[in-house]
């Protein structure tokens, strides 16, 4: 998982190696490329603030300090805190169950618990509302038992809270599993030999050591919730993203949308700063399990725990899949929906593939500079390139609208600018992948090739690139996946008539024609499954994290 905090931690290099490398002219070229990329990525953000400033101080203040903005802030922050406060205990409990107990089929349940990552939030919200909303499948099922009305929890705050919790907790879950696996179990034994039972040991010896692993997951959930547009729109809970989108669509004056977007950017940035501050105050956990922790027998709890884990996956994985399948069977009768799904899938692939290649290519100079030189300018450039991490897709889209209209109107609503938006948004994922594969590659390979007389470019092409290829492929896979699922920036920036899987699902959902949304949603899940499983779930759940 990419975090801005980890991005700034370069690997220590010997001063000899650093001095020799930084004098070479090819590295100057790399540095220039990196700085240009970082600048380009931040340009839209600058324009967003300029656009908001156009209306003058009083105009800006009247939007930012209005009661409606205050209400939006409360609603948005309320959702963020609600989701983090619900997802964290859920994720930690699940992680503990699949790593420390004798639950039968622990590996299977661990993978299942992470599967919600495959669902885009709008698909999740759609199936959730259809299953648990008024006149939904659950209610119709219960009517046979004489229950005519269900409490309406699928919409509004409770709906947004449930959907986002059920589909974002895997971020915390996977990091906590990895944390628990690498934790030295002897501190738990030390705690017990000092007279603390299982519960107190967990809360006073284990949990504090898990914080460094959990906190980045909680930040990911926070950023996901702040940026989410699809789910909150479908369950009709008004947050910043919805307000910005509505202001952009409905009003001729786009200053309001720009002003609201700046508030969202500031909120997001504050959470990142808070996270960096928090992590810097934590002591690293004791790692390197000397002996595997003994599985704790669940005993009479085995049945209930199994039912809980299975029930959860029923709600957030299997019921949605079943609902989508039944809708698509209904939709297959209409040929038009099949053709539409096919075309939109091709369009999605057509933008996602170039985005993945471009993002990884652009990430390389930044990563090479930051990892191999690790000077302050290199690290600052890398940190700046993580801007997309802090920018909700809607904000990136909006900012790019302002940039194109101001500088290059020809490109307004073109595939070029749409691809640019994706690259800005998902460049951090590519940088993280390139950076970690470069960081694990010992510089001695490159030094050996250089000693044999290879030019810098030849060394990079014949030694470095082949060795970091798996990491780069993983990075491009992640960018590809997130691009396929991206909704809000696509809605704003796509050329007229250009439909992707995400936009088809969105328009079908807003028109209430669910069967039209089903096929594209299944395509999206099918395309997502393999990269998510192979690139995120399986590596995170690997037994030995070496």
């Amino acid at each position: 998982m990419p975090t801005a905090a980890s991005a700034t931690q370069g690997r220590p290099r010997t001063s000899v190696a650093r001095g020799r490398v930084s004098r070479s002219p090819s590295l100057v070229f790399v540095a220039i490329l990196a700085v240009l990329t970082a600048a380009a990525v931040n340009l839209p953000l600058v324009y967003l603030f300029l656009r908001a400033a156009q209306q003058g101080v009083s105009g800006y203040a009247s939007v930012v300090f209005s009661t409606s903005t205050a209400r939006l802030t409360v609603r948005t922050l309320g959702l963020v805190f609600g989701v983090v406060a619900t997802a964290t205990p859920l994720a930690v409990t699940l992680a503990w169950v699949v790593t420390r107990t004798d639950l039968p089929g622990r590996r299977f349940w661990a993978a299942t618990a992470a599967l919600p990552l495959v669902f885009p939030s709008y698909v999740a919200a759609l199936t959730f509302v259809a299953s648990f909303g008024p006149r939904g499948y659950l209610q119709r099922l219960l009517e046979d038992f004489g229950i005519e009305r269900l409490p309406d929890f699928a919409y509004g705050f409770s709906g947004a809270l449930l959907v986002l919790t059920l589909y974002t907790y895997p971020y915390i879950f996977l990091l906590t599993v990895a944390g628990l696996r690498s934790l030295d179990a002897t501190t738990e034994e030390a705690s017990r030999s000092l007279g603390c039972g299982r519960w107190r040991t967990f809360f006073s010896a284990v949990l504090p050591q898990l914080l460094p692993a959990m906190a980045p997951g909680a930040l990911l959930v926070t950023l996901y919730t702040l940026a989410d547009f699809g789910a909150v729109s479908i369950v009709r809970y008004n947050t910043f993203t919805m307000a910005i989108y509505n202001a952009y669509q409905a009003l001729f004056d786009r200053s309001i949308a720009a002003s609201l977007a700046t508030v969202l950017v500031v909120l997001t940035a504050s959470f990142i700063v808070l996270e960096i501050w928090f992590l810097s105050h934590l002591r690293p956990a004791r790692l390197g399990a000397s002996r595997p922790a003994r599985a704790i027998p669940l005993g009479k709890w085995r049945g209930p725990v199994m039912a809980g884990v299975a029930g959860l996956s029923l709600i957030n994985v299997w019921v949605p899949v079943a609902v989508l399948l039944s809708w698509s069977v209904r939709g297959l009768g209409r040929g038009s929906s099949v053709a539409e799904a096919g075309w939109s899938a091709l369009n999605s692939l057509g933008v996602a593939l170039p985005t993945a290649v471009l993002a990884v290519a652009l990430s390389l100079p930044i990563a090479v500079w930051a990892v191999r030189v690790a000077s302050i300018p290199a690290r600052v450039t890398q940190a700046l390139s993580f801007a997309g991490y802090a920018l909700p897709g809607l904000v990136v889209g909006l900012a790019l609208v302002f940039v194109t209209l101001r500088l290059i109107p020809v490109l307004y609503q073109s595939l070029t600018i749409l691809t640019a938006a994706y690259v800005i948004r998902f460049l951090p994922e590519a940088i993280s992948a390139s950076r970690s594969s470069l960081a694990t590659l010992a510089p001695t390979f490159e030094e050996a090739a250089k000693a044999l007389g290879g030019s810098p470019w030849r060394v990079f092409r014949t030694v470095t690139l082949p060795l970091i290829k798996p990491g780069l492929l993983a990075g491009s896979g992640l960018v590809f996946l997130t691009t396929m699922k991206e909704l809000p920036a696509t809605l704003i920036l796509r050329p007229t008539g250009f439909d992707t899987l995400a936009t088809v699902i969105w328009s079908a959902a807003s028109e209430g024609i669910y069967s039209r949304a089903a096929l594209p949603a299944i395509c999206l899940l099918a395309v997502s499954f393999f990269p998510v499983y192979l690139l995120i779930i399986r590596p995170s759940l690997r037994e030995s994290p070496s």
Binding site: S193, P208, R283, P284, R286
Partner: protein
Amino acid sequence: MTGGTVAPPILEIEGLEVSYGRVGAVRQVDLTIDGPGITALVGPSGCGKTTLLRAIAGFEVPASGSVRIAGVTVAGNGSWVPPESRRVGMVFQDGALFPHLTVRDNVGYGLRGIPDAAERVSDVLSRVGIANLAGRYPDQLSGGQQQRVALARALGPAPRLVLLDEPFVSLDATLRGRVRDQARQILEASAVCAVLVTHDQEEALSFADRVAVMTGGKIMQIGSPEEIYHRPVSVEVARFIGDGHLMPCTVTSGRFSSEFGEATCQATDGPGLLFVRPEDLSVVRWSQGRGVPGTVVERRFFGHDVLDSVVLASGLRVEVRSLSSATVPVGSPVRLTLKERTYRVFSSSG
């Protein structure tokens, strides 16, 4: 054992069996520790010594047999007392300090809810000599300091029994000796009953009052360090503790005969094994007196003593430790003699 006024032994283990994968199992172990003092469990890796220690602490569940601590059955005979209720302190291999707590909070961890906890923490910190480190976090301490904190933390709740699982193994050689001496003084001053697990026989002999040698999940011999070193009961114990040579001999009516000649011994008649430590042999110049002829082929100099490799006429190569002040030149013919009554003879058949 059952006398009304006599305090029960601190630790009584009877017929303990712990299965633990292929190596490290414990088989039919009996062990009684009556009172204060340090007992070392020593043996090669995988001999089950750590498993035995963990069974005493309550981290391993025995398959059969029983463990009693101060007269209370904590495992076996249908009883099970979880580790947190055994009042057994434990010092782990690399300290296992809580990384998120200061030294003071680490030591106070086992004292929560006790009225005079703060005083007891500062008392044990000064006893262990780390009062000046109270505010630091574990990652700000050296390896030796961490182990002293770990010892202080284990002693904090005034346990009846302290278990030490290879606590010095991760320290570098120069530091190890010093930390070991300090730990020994602290344990003695606390008048506590301690069990040390180690694979280092030198550590066991110098640290403990009593040494139990384990191989293959069983305790082969228990005794004072002197007994273990000078009177090993079996070939395995002799091989494991210290250096030495085993060479074939024949025993007939209380005397053995071997390449080193004949002498009295207490072994049954038949083929036997003569066990000789390098310091049990003395090497003299060829011209001086009697002994087995040989040649010094190699010498290693250790300062106060030297280790000579001597090849005998039969081709057998033995090592002889002597004071470095009295040596013969390398390459010169010598004679070897057995010193009085320091050797052991084991019956091969037994």
